[in-house]
Symmetry: C2
Subunit: 100 residues, 2 copies
């Protein structure tokens, strides 16, 4: 498909609880219903196959960069970040790219 | 879709040339034709929207973890890593997860 993709992965801080991790996934799962600019939304927890991997990842697809920017800056999204991700994140890695 | 997804992103070392970056993309692009276990293969270069992002990302989908492991350890894949990625990589971040 053509479009625009945002990929972000996180390492959670030591001591992060299962409930805190679940809260991130639960709150993010609500976003596609609240932000219609999201065309496709996939998230997942590290499968535990390889050492040195991240803990959690989100792959979000949009029709184009403008829709991504609406998502990035959307108050509902920012609230999820501030309330559930920021308190437990140790490391964050991200990239955005045009889907070929 | 159900399945298994591998996400990996890279920061290239300072001084990496455009030709070296292109060689990575070109060589990786050949993999789906050579490794039939790859169900879907997407890659991209940082769109330059946000600061602090990675330079290059690959999102590879498989029917299941066993197919991913074939890809991970495939000699053709390992050769691309060794010959084109390892020489220029400064930082690598990865995660694998079950597609819901």
């Amino acid at each position: 498909m053509s479009g625009f993709r945002h990929v972000v992965m996180f390492v959670w801080a030591e001591g992060t609880t299962t409930a805190q991790r679940q809260e991130v996934a639960d709150r993010l799962s609500e976003l596609p219903a609240k932000i219609p600019q999201i065309a496709s939304y996939s998230m997942g927890t590290n499968a535990g196959i390889n050492p040195g991997t991240y803990d959690f990842v989100v792959v979000a697809d949009f029709a184009g960069v403008d829709d991504y920017l609406v998502y990035r800056d959307h108050p509902v999204h920012r609230a999820v970040i501030e309330e559930t991700i920021t308190p437990i994140v140790e490391r964050r890695s991200a990239i955005q790219y045009e889907l070929g």
